[in-house]
């Protein structure tokens, strides 16, 4: 196949591209320029798309023997990922920008452009597996549970999955690093990237504060309705959060207090004991299916955050999206995050959490 390998300048995508070439594919490499004003050098493990990363990607392509180009997707990234991130937060939701990037940049803008230019598939260094099943290509969890990235790929449609190669899905990170060193890929020891690439210092709250106009408001005790403090702006709070509440008065029972609800319209942050965070029903909207739809009441597993556990549940498809009923209570589910549904290791689909509640 004629494949387009997206090289970030890191270890994973370099090894993935090398494996695709070894498998006999005709590999062309691209580095996606996502930042409008790329920095010259990387700092620590965060951030991406510096000129140094682009150079690392170029050198990796050299080692693989693939022609290398830079594709400028900074305008799309700004609109579809960064502005979406700000908009979601300003409405009191907690988005996952990596998932949004996979959804609208890597497996939409890039894949579509690649297909139009005559490529058959896109290769990335994500840890996930594509397996041919009875209904076509299926997306499965990677064999390395610590690195599995199927959650952030859960937004992929069956069509997108069928045009994607994830050559690392069967390997552990340790194996990939060792292979990179063996292949002479210079970035073999480069640290993994973490967090949100467009917030290089990792201070999401500080970054958001510069993007979103906030006004101070009240912190209310959800059980008594009393005002127990003030906050600098409700947008900076996430359900389940405990740090950063800065409550003056210790609570009477000495129990820790958590953010149990955020109302951006009223600019109110509700706090309460952790038991108020326990929910068992999740409503989610804008579902994207990786294959056939589940039947109502189907037993599934659901994951609601990037490195969260897989939880047993049942699912019903509704007019507005899906309703997921958990077998056990779950603490602290934030609106805006994705609920990714699994049948064993297979991704069924993904939807954006809009509400959660507790049902007896």
């Amino acid at each position: 196949m004629k494949v387009l390998a997206a090289l970030s300048g890191g270890v994973d995508s370099a090894v993935a591209a090398a494996r695709a070439a070894d498998a006999g594919h005709d590999v062309t490499a691209v580095h996606l320029a996502l930042s409008r004003n790329p920095q010259s050098h990387r700092t620590g493990a965060r951030g991406c798309c510096t000129i140094e990363d682009s150079n690392d990607a170029f050198r990796a392509a050299d080692m693989i023997g693939a022609p290398f180009y830079v594709w400028d997707l900074s305008a799309e990234f700004q609109e579809k990922v960064i502005e979406d991130f700000i908009s979601e937060y300003s409405q009191g939701r907690t988005p996952n920008p990596c998932l949004r990037c996979n959804e609208s940049i890597k497996f939409e803008a890039v894949l579509e452009r690649a297909m139009n230019l005559g490529f058959d598939a896109v290769v990335t260094g994500h840890y996930a597996r594509v397996i041919n099943g009875p209904h076509g290509a299926e997306l499965h969890r990677a064999v390395d549970p610590d690195k599995d990235q199927s959650y952030v790929l859960g937004v992929m449609t069956a069509e997108q999955i069928s045009h994607s190669l994830f050559p690392l899905g069967d390997s552990t990170k340790t194996q990939v690093r060792a292979e990179a060193a063996e292949r002479g890929i210079l970035v073999a020891a480069k640290p993994d990237s973490h967090d949100i690439c467009f917030i290089p210092d990792g201070d999401t709250a500080g970054w958001l504060a510069r993007q979103i106009e906030t006004t101070p408001g009240d912190v209310i005790d959800a059980e008594t309705g009393n005002k127990v403090g003030t906050h600098k702006g409700a947008q900076a709070f996430t359900v389940g959060q405990r740090r950063g509440l800065a409550l003056g008065n210790p609570t009477g029972d000495g129990e820790r207090r958590y953010v149990v609800d955020v109302d951006v319209k009223q600019n109110v942050v509700m706090i309460g004991p952790p038991t108020l965070l326990d929910i068992n029903v999740i409503e989610a909207i804008n579902p994207r299916w990786s294959g056939p739809l589940p039947h109502n009441g189907q037993n599934i597993e659901v994951q609601v955050r990037a490195h969260g556990e897989s939880l047993p549940a049942t699912v019903s498809v509704t007019d507005s999206g899906v309703t997921i009923t958990l077998k056990d209570f779950l603490r602290g589910v934030a609106a805006g995050q994705a609920a990714v549904m699994y049948d064993g290791t297979r991704v069924i689909g993904s939807a954006t959490i809009s509400r959660s509640r507790r049902e007896a």
């Binding site: 062309t28 580095h31 320029a33 790329p38 000129i51 682009s54 170029f58 022609p67 180009y69 830079v70 594709w71 400028d72 997707l73 900074s74 305008a75 799309e76 609109e79 803008a109 579509e112 452009r113 139009n116 230019l117 005559g118």
Partner: protein, 389 residues
Amino acid sequence: MAYLDHAATTPMFPEAVAAMTELLAEPGNPSSLHASGRLSRRHVEEARETVARVLGARAGEIVFTAGGTEADNIGLKGIAWSERNFYPHKRRVLVSSVEHHAILDPAEWLSGDDGFELTLIASDARGRITPEALREALGDDPSDVAVVSIMLANNEVGTVNDISSLTEVTREFGIRFHTDAVQAPAWLPVQFSELGVCAMTVSGHKVGGPHGVGALVISRDCKVTPLVHGGGQERDVRSGTLDTPAIVAFAKALEIVELRRDQEVARISALRDQLVQRVLEIDDSAVYNGDHVGRLANNAHFTFPGCLGDSLLMLLDAQGVECSVGSACNAGVPQPSHVLLAMGANDNDARSTLRFTLGYSSTQEDVDALIAALPSAIERARRAGMPKS
């Protein structure tokens, strides 16, 4: 492989390679006083005389540099600083809006960090700078202008400016004039003394010489403040040990250009005209940019509406046809061409360009290879369309 990017760099003439390699292992710093040093210096001075003769200048006017960008920086900043030192009211620099970044960026730096004011001289729709546009930019009171820089031939669209008609304007006001002639000597009989400029930039690797060497031709009465200080080489304008092998090879290349130019201009312009005609036959929406007459013999520059230049380049590259989108890159990402924008193109058209440039080694097969590869490239690139900008 069809190499159609000679304006980016053109292969060295074998004679220039021979001249260079012969000297690479020789001892001798041209500044040294012993026999080896004197011999090295003799090589440099003979090369200087050759370069001067070919370019219609005096040997004493040639300042060797490490390339075109350095020469442009000395030509612009060095003259601007020197003028301001003598006449503190001279705080304005004028450069054309279609200059290479080696002029545009130092001009912007002068205006941003160094207290000068920058006036851009407007281009016409063909990429040409007219005396009227220059007068317009000079304004009612040109007495504050320290230096004007207008390129002799445009690196993207190949448009050739009539520098003499422009220096006639600045002469009225006694304003210093620099021209970036990097693209010119292989295709035009550039004669420094006839242009009326006080400084002119040339580069080695655009004329079949090596990379990393160039020259600023500076008239004797033109004072230049150095950018680099050190051993005082090159009239104190450009310190640093001279690269004798590169300078000798540069001179050799210019000598060959002088010998073969007439013949090559005839051959290559015919090949270029054929290329243009066949490209327009393949895509009737393609636009042949620049001045159709007053342009470099080797340049063909097109807009392919609805095709990202980037996509076309990649698709042609995959078929062994090497060309350029024509504009500068930022971190490997081609930017919309400032030249096309200055010529009045919209943003999308300025990202839909391809530049094909021929050289002395170009053949009919190169053009045939392009013509064979182009239709499918255009079709696919158009299908992929224009991403958001």
